[in-house]
Every structure is written in C-alpha cells, then in structure tokens.
Symmetry: C2
Subunit: 339 residues, 2 copies
C-alpha cells in the first residue's frame, strides 16, 4: 500500500490519469460525482501526493524559511513563535535554518534556496555578514526576503526593526541619571547595522550629558565565550574601571554578572548594568536585570505579514518598506531601581 500514486488510483477507478489529477485539484472540468469517487478512494488508500513532484508542478513549496543566527537568545525563540502563528494562519510550513553567526553558513543556506525549496524568507543576518551578493541572488530567482531585527540597511528590501538608536540613548541616559560616569558599551559585532545604531545612541547620550566619549568605551566582543570572558575580566580589573555597562546582546549579561561576583564588585552599588534582553528570567536574576526589551512577538508578526504580501504579488519587486517598532526600558535592581 506504500506505492499508491495517481496512476494506480486511475487504474483502480478506470479513469484517465489526467482526470484523477484534475479531480484531486478540485478542477471545474470534473464533475462532482467523479471528484467524490476519486477523493473517497484516495482517502481509503491513504494516498499522499509526493511533495517534491507536487512542488515541481506548482513551482511552490508552501514553505517559508526563517534564517536566524541562533536560538539560544530569548529574542529569537520568541520570534519563532510569532512567525509560526502567522504561517499557520496562512497554511504555510516554517523551516528554521541557523547560521550560528557564520557568514559562510548563511551563504550556503541561501544558495540552496535559489531553486524553489522555499517561497519566501524571513531573516536576521549573522554577525559576520558584510557582503550581500548571496541575498541579492535570491531576488534574481524571485524569492522575497524580509529582514527583521538584524537588517542590512543598504539593501532595498523590507525591514522590520526597533528604535535601536533612541532606546540606546534612553538606556545610557538612565545610567547617567543613576550616577554612572564611566560607561562602556559591550558590542557583539561592528558589522551589524543594529549594533551600530545602538552604539550611535550610546555615544550621542554621552555627548548630550557632557561625558567623555572615546573609542575605547565600545568593547568589541565576539561569539567566542572564552574571548568575551577575557575581555570583560580585563575591563573590570583595570584602573578606572567602568561604573556602568550596556550589554548590547543577552549573552553578554551572564559573564558580567559572574565576573563581577568573582571580583567582589557589587551590582548595583559599584557597577550598574542594562542588558538588551527578552529573557523571562531578567526579573529573577541576582540582582534583577534592567533591560531594554524588544517587542519580539509583534515584530515577527509584522515581518511575516509583509512577507506574505510580497509572496502574493505578481511581477516580483522586493518590497522596500521600513517598519520601526518601539522597545521598552524596564528599570530593575541592576541599575539600583528596586522593583
């Protein structure tokens, strides 16, 4: 029974293959009675159309890809949930591809999409991505791409982001208001537009508050945990160490807390910290973490909605639309604001 195909259905029903195929597609050329006979037998014999053959015929996969740098960050795990919901409403499958922050992996993943494996792509770029040819190549194949969170500013594509510069300005000003004088920003990648917008907000706030602003106040962290530990340890051991830190990405919070504890630097008395994070654990950290929290769920619903609109359009042109949603600063104990 595992080799039921249109041919065997046709033989059993004494119909032509074309008639069975059209009946299965609910064609108006076929009578209701015939459709019923075909569907009843197909159901009885548990006929499953071959997805590859079917994709070839329709040139549609009914699948969207979500390309993400990782899933260990709360932002991305919330994002997946939002995307899945919109896809489900539209009857689409979601496939998740992880780049693990590697440009070469991202390039390879996108190359495999060129021949119709997916109908559209939602994407947050890796922290290594500088070249964009692999993304532009998708447009040549009429595959729409919508960026969210980590976008490539230069590309004429739809982008759903948050107010990164403004919220970073606000977070920095919050640290100043809490008494910090020596503030540093822990950066994850100088190639990411999102990171650079956050740095711009940080630097503008320092200038606005007439605090010194030097290149040394932006610490280039990476995706290597050992390197990050070393950089943060060095930072907290130096003479004139910072009294305020902005962690530009969730995973940099953990080493700041751990190393401060080890070095007996009290948070928030001697060091205050704000983290960009969607972690549900932020309120129960020791001390509870002041966060900049992005509307991850809302962002992804918007991104998915724009993608579905782009996929339905005839005559492909990449959508060039920018949506900017607002993040929220949530003051907690790590900046001396008892919650």
């Amino acid at each position: 029974m595992s080799h039921i195909n249109i041919r065997s259905l046709a033989k059993e029903l004494q119909l032509s293959i074309g008639t069975v195929s059209k009946a299965l597609k609910d064609s108006h050329e076929i009578s209701a009675a015939t459709k019923l006979r075909v569907l009843e037998l197909a159901q009885k014999l548990q006929y499953n159309p071959n997805p590859y053959a079917s994709s070839l015929r329709r040139k549609k996969s009914n699948t969207i890809a979500v390309v993400l740098p990782e899933v260990a960050d709360s932002f991305f795990s919330v994002a997946i949930k939002g995307i899945e919901e919109v896809a489900q409403e539209n009857g689409f499958h979601v496939l998740i591809y992880l780049t693990f922050e590697r440009y070469l992996k991202e390039k390879k993943i996108l190359e495999a999409f060129r021949n119709g494996r997916v109908d559209g792509i939602l994407m947050s770029v890796s922290s290594e991505t500088m070249d964009t040819a692999h993304i532009e190549a998708l447009w040549e194949n009429n595959i729409p791409v919508v960026f969210f969170d980590r976008v490539i500013s230069e590309l004429p594509s739809a982008k759903i982001t948050t107010n990164d510069e403004d919220i970073s300005f606000e977070a920095t000003s919050h640290l100043v208001a809490r008494g910090c004088q020596e503030i540093v920003y822990l950066s994850i990648s100088k190639h990411l537009a999102i990171n650079n917008r956050r740095i711009a907000g940080f630097q503008k706030a320092l200038q606005a508050h007439e605090l010194p602003c030097s290149a040394g106040q932006v610490i280039d962290c990476s995706n290597d945990e050992t390197d990050n530990d070393r950089l943060i340890r060095q930072l907290l051991l130096q003479a004139g160490r910072p009294d305020g830190i902005i962690a530009g990405v969730e995973k940099l919070v953990m080493p700041v807390y751990a190393i401060s504890k080890e070095l007996h630097i009290d948070i928030p008395a001697h060091l205050k910290i704000v983290g960009f994070s969607n972690s549900p654990l932020a309120p129960i950290l020791n001390p509870s973490l002041t966060t900049v929290t992005q509307p991850a769920y809302e962002m992804c619903k918007r991104a998915a909605a724009v993608l579905f609109r782009a996929m339905l359009k005839k005559g492909f042109v990449p959508e060039h639309e920018t949506v900017i949603l607002s993040s929220t600063l949530l003051p907690r104990d790590s900046t001396g604001c008892l919650s």
Copy 2:
C-alpha cells in the same frame, strides 16, 4: 540566465543530455576531458540543479529533520547545536520543526515527511503525544526515527535518554538532606515517559526516607502560563505549604521564584527548589538555582550518530538501541548550598 538546466548545458556543449547528467555526477562512463568541459560551463553559467528534481531522482534529500516541542528551553537550544555539528560533518542539512507541545501539529509534521522530504528524523515528542501511529507510519516509508530526551518507551526505536529516575531520586534526597519534609514535584505532562520516570524517582526517594508520599504531591502543570501561575500560587498559599519543590521542567522555575517573592516566602530559608534546567543563567539567579543538568550536547551528538548509522543501513529495520547518559545535580543557593 535563470533558466540554465541540463538541457541547455547539453545544447551549448553539443552533447547528449545523458552525457551531461552523467558528467555532473562524476560517472566513470564519461572521460575526464568531457567532465571538465561540462563542469566549466556549469560553473560559468552558475547552473544549480533543482533540488526537488534531484531529490526525486536520487530519492534522497540529504536532509534530516529535528522535531522539537519548543526552543525556549535551554536543553533544546543546546541540543540543536550538537545535532547541527554532526549533520555538518556528514554533509547533511538540518531542518527544525517545532510542535509547540501539540500532538496534532506533530502528527501533521510527520505526515508531511512520508514522501521523502527528509531522510531521517531526530525527535523529542510533544507533551500531548499518546498515540504513536503517526510515528510508526514513518517506518512503513523506511524513514528512521531516533528519539532523544522525550521518548516513547513502547516503540521499538533507538532512544537516547538520561538517568531520569536516578537523578530525580538524588535531587529529592538532596532536598531531604537540606531539611525539607513536605516536598512536591511540578510535572509538565503525565503522558511523557521522561516525566513519569522523574516522578517515580521522586516517589521512591520519599519512601526511602520514610516521608509521606501521596498523589497530591505531584502537581500537574501544563503549557498554559496562566494556569501554571494559578496552580503554583494556590500551592504556596495553602496551609501546610511545601518546603521543597522539584520543578520538572525549566519554565516552571520562573513562576515559583516570582510568586515566592511576591508572597514573601524566602528561598532557601522557607522554601528550597531544584530545577531540571540547562540554563546558563542558573548560577546568577536570585538565589542561584540548584539544578539537575542534562548532558544535552553529548545526548544529541549520540542521537545524531545513531540516526546516521540507521540511514546508511540497507534493508530498513528501526534501530532498537537505548543509550542512557548521566545528568548532574549541581547544588546552589536555592537549596541553601552557597556556591
């Protein structure tokens, strides 16, 4: 240039389609000189074989699926990393499918696999899954499935788990040793074998320590946050409330901490808690969390290795192999063990 196929390559090279096809597959029937001509033109014209057509011919997709209940749990986000590494070494793609703990979604995902979309499956079942017909149907289609973490005990398939009963016995005994007399277990689903093994270990430990052991000491939580909050609040407000809690899944730790704080129940003085968790944030929670930590990375590497062995076998029979790895109890402040 977007319609380069074998036919157009053959025409340009004045060769037969069969010759070009064989040359692209590095067939011994074709001379080295011809192969070179074909490959050079294919590269020049950026010829990409259509993945669906190619899959149909080979009946292989070079893709494995990872079916998970969610990614917001640290165990699963670490697991993905381990699987991806093994797949990459074997030249395979990894597709991630999320069931969001829904049996019907899991069933739908597995049904779509029956016709060769993937070559093998690594899976942790949803908390709702009781019926197994959707999994057995894959075997009829010769698609191997290897379970990890959340397995279905009754199925004759490969299973990679941890020593859940023993480690739960150890965690409960740890709470007893720290002075707890009224211990409850927060359960995520009574349908999951993993959960039932953990409950068995919990109950055996209570009996071994001659503590009362009633059905009421296992609290059935769910995937609904509001319901869980209500159950935990009720538990902590009742007369004779527990002085020890085992959270059988990571996401139940957060509401226990939050509600205890709200009700001024001091952890660990008045309530001690152990959580099954792989979260890197466990050491910096307030108080730091005593955890049972599974060897997530190692488990997934093993599971992937067993799957690749099963996929390479001729004459398909599901692998029936059980691997049990050891979890680790890491005592921290939430059970009064200052780290």
